[in-house]
């Protein structure tokens, strides 16, 4: 499980990020003060990724970046400032990415995933309960037995598994799997989902007015 350090001075937003990330399968720690965050890293706390606010009491995000880089922790900047100058500065100084508040959870998740993919050895398998997805051979097994899935169903399962515990809207699923130029009925998705449920036995619940969510404890 990847560990993410959330450094954001606003308590509400800090808690929100921690909650979101822990629900989607990350271990999180929060910190609201720049200097304290620096001390924690220097004490030896290890993380796979840090989300860093630019405007922080104690020490600002740009200054903190050096400490994080020295300890090999990739950084995504969070800030309400959306001026281009800041963005350029952040990226030139060696941040991995930059996200402007207010942001969408799914967008943040995609960016986190991309950064983690670059910095940690690529995962070969994805485990969801008793189902194991082999990401190289695209073979899905349940209790050691191979489940027969069409390529579309495999992609759909992968999307839901990556965003576990997050409800995915039909539009988003269409966009991710059919590249949105597929103008077919969203009933097609319902058919694939019910096939996936039947074949994998995974708890894919439909969330009213939103979409589908793969629930994993």
């Amino acid at each position: 499980m990847h560990r993410i350090f959330v450094v954001e001075d606003d308590e509400a937003i800090n808690r929100l990020l921690c909650m979101n990330l822990s629900v989607t399968g990350y271990a999180t720690e929060g910190e609201t003060d720049g200097l304290k965050a620096k001390a924690r890293i220097e004490r030896g706390e290890r993380y796979d990724l840090a989300l860093l606010d630019v405007m922080l009491p104690g020490m600002d995000g740009f200054t903190l970046l050096d400490t994080f880089r020295a300890h090999g922790i990739p950084v995504i900047f969070l800030t309400a400032k959306n001026e281009l100058a800041d963005r350029v500065k952040g990226l030139r100084d060696g941040a991995e990415d930059y996200i402007v508040k207010p942001f969408e959870l799914l967008e943040l998740l995609v960016r986190i995933e991309k950064v983690l993919e670059r910095h940690t050895p690529t995962q070969k398998t994805l485990v969801i309960g008793d189902v194991v997805m082999n990401l190289e051979s695209r073979i899905v097994q349940k209790n050691g037995e191979t489940i027969d899935l069409t390529p579309t169903q495999y992609d759909l399962l992968y999307l839901l598994a990556k965003n576990r515990n997050v409800a995915m809207s039909r539009e988003r699923i269409l966009a991710a799997i059919w590249n949105s130029d597929f103008m077919g009925e969203s009933r097609t998705i319902d058919n694939h989902i019910s096939q996936l449920r039947k074949r994998t036995g995974l708890p894919i619940v439909s969330v009213s007015r939103v979409g589908y969510r793969l629930e994993v404890d």
């Binding site: 808690r15 909650m19 969408e104 959870l105």
Partner: protein, 459 residues
């Protein structure tokens, strides 16, 4: 065509025309006089000549002479009279019997009525008289000298006129240019203003009409510049305020959007759901406080005037005590009122909100004891809280300025309280001052006008 050129040309044209007309009239009358004088002389001369001729030729037996002899006799008599000064001519029976000059005067006078005759550079006036003996006498009176003098006069006039005309042209051009150049300067100034440059002053260089025009221009420029500065100042202030407001709203908005999205899309435990709702409420409250204060600030900013009424310490205490005591209790602070000696003029609700804002700040600074006092027309709020450093003190009334960012926001403070206080005090024509020392506490003093007269003067 430029005005200066137009004016010069008009002046020059008119003057030249006048000169020309005067010259012509003078020349004409001189010439007429000369000719008339010459004519009179010619008439007198021919009179004497004819008389003498008639007297000489008055002979009874003239009719007895042959035609030829008669002619010879007349010719002889006429020649005797010739004194060689003027040209005379005698015509008898259609034949020129005698002519002392080269010109055929009879033919000249027949061909033209003009009496002034020019030949070989000489001028003369010819006259004719027909006598009863059948002779016609012609006389040419020389007036060359008079005409020459006239021509000389003409030349002099032309030369003087031409020189005067040239001089006049130059003078007119120079004068109109000089008279109109201040207008050019004004035109350049107007052009500058049209281009947006209101800062270059226009100097008054003349004390004439153009000078007073320049003065009016300068007055206008000053007024426009002042208004513009005021307008852009207000716009700039509004823009900053709006920018700060948007910035302040972004964080609670992010939280609200985020938590509602989490509730909507995430699989959350019951505790997590409860946490979401708590934060949603808190952040919405934060926005509410922010917008309320902002509204208040904008309404006060809009030049809304207050309704002045006498305010007494008791009134303020009556409003504030029930409001502040419970808050003080919750925060573990003690609040004391000493407002008995206070009276001023203003809006009691606004002044109460000044005091409650100052109380809020004092409580946030960690004060154990807060004193709200009033004496005469001066109010003060003193605390024994954290106090402020001078550099903080200098900025406390700026909208959205917070001495302690993290604590201020968590406590639901938008950083607008003192900005609001400052506005209200300004509206009352009062004065706001701070005395503060880090670690010892802060005293905020509000001086208000005593009565309506003072308020008017202050505001």
């Amino acid at each position: 065509m430029k005005l200066s050129l137009k004016m010069s040309l008009l002046t020059i044209g008119l003057t030249a025309l006048t000169l020309l007309l005067c010259g012509l009239i003078v020349l004409r009358s001189v010439q007429d006089r000369t000719v008339a004088t010459a004519r009179e002389s010619a008439e007198a001369q021919i009179g004497y000549l004819c008389e003498a001729f008639l007297f000489a030729s008055d002979w009874d037996e003239a009719g007895t002479l042959s035609e030829r002899a008669q002619k010879s006799r007349l010719q002889y008599l006429f020649r005797r009279l010739d004194r060689g000064e003027e040209q005379h001519e005698l015509v008898y029976g259609g034949e020129t019997l005698c002519n002392s000059g080269a010109l055929a005067l009879d033919r000249l006078l027949e061909a033209t009525d003009e009496r002034l005759i020019e030949a070989d550079g000489r001028y003369g006036v010819a006259v004719r008289r027909t006598l009863e003996n059948g002779c016609t006498v012609y006389l040419l009176y020389d007036c060359t000298a008079g005409i020459r003098a006239l021509q000389g006069l003409k030349r002099t006039l032309l030369t003087v006129g031409a020189v005067a005309f040239c001089g006049l042209t130059v003078a007119a051009l120079l004068l109109t240019y000089a008279a109109l150049s201040p207008l050019k300067e004004l035109e350049r100034a107007a052009r500058r203003m049209a281009g947006g440059d209101y800062s270059t002053p226009i100097r008054k260089r003349h004390s004439d009409e153009v000078g007073s025009l320049a003065e009016s221009f300068e007055t206008m420029r000053g007024a426009v510049q002042k208004h513009l500065a005021e307008l852009s100042g207000v716009a700039e202030e509004r823009k900053l305020l709006l920018g700060a407001l948007t910035h302040e709203m972004k964080t609670p908005m992010t939280a609200i959007v985020g938590y509602s999205e989490a509730l909507n899309a995430l699989r959350l435990s019951e505790e997590q759901k409860a946490e979401c709702i708590t934060y949603l409420h808190r952040e919405s409250k934060r926005l509410e406080v922010l917008t309320q204060k902002m509204m208040r600030l904008i309404t006060l900013d809009g030049g809304e005037s207050i309704t002045p009424e006498p305010i007494y310490g008791e009134t303020l205490e009556g409003i504030l005590e029930p409001m502040l005591k419970p808050i003080a209790q919750k925060r573990g602070t003690e609040v004391t009122f000493d407002l008995a000696g206070f009276s001023a003029v203003g809006d009691s609700n606004l002044i109460a909100s000044v005091l409650s804002n100052l109380f809020d700040n004092a409580a946030s600074a960690g004060a154990r004891h807060i004193l709200i006092a009033g004496d005469g027309s001066t109010l003060s709020v003193s605390d024994d809280g954290a106090g402020m450093a001078p550099e903080v003190l200098a900025r406390v009334t700026e909208p959205f300025f917070r001495a302690d960012k993290a604590r201020g926001r968590a406590g639901g403070h938008a950083g607008l309280g003192l900005a609001l206080v400052q506005r209200i005090v300004d509206l009352h024509g009062g004065m706001l001052s701070f005395q503060s020392e880090p670690g010892k506490g802060t005293t905020v003093t509000v001086r208000l006008p005593k009565n309506e007269k003072e308020r008017r003067r202050g505001a």
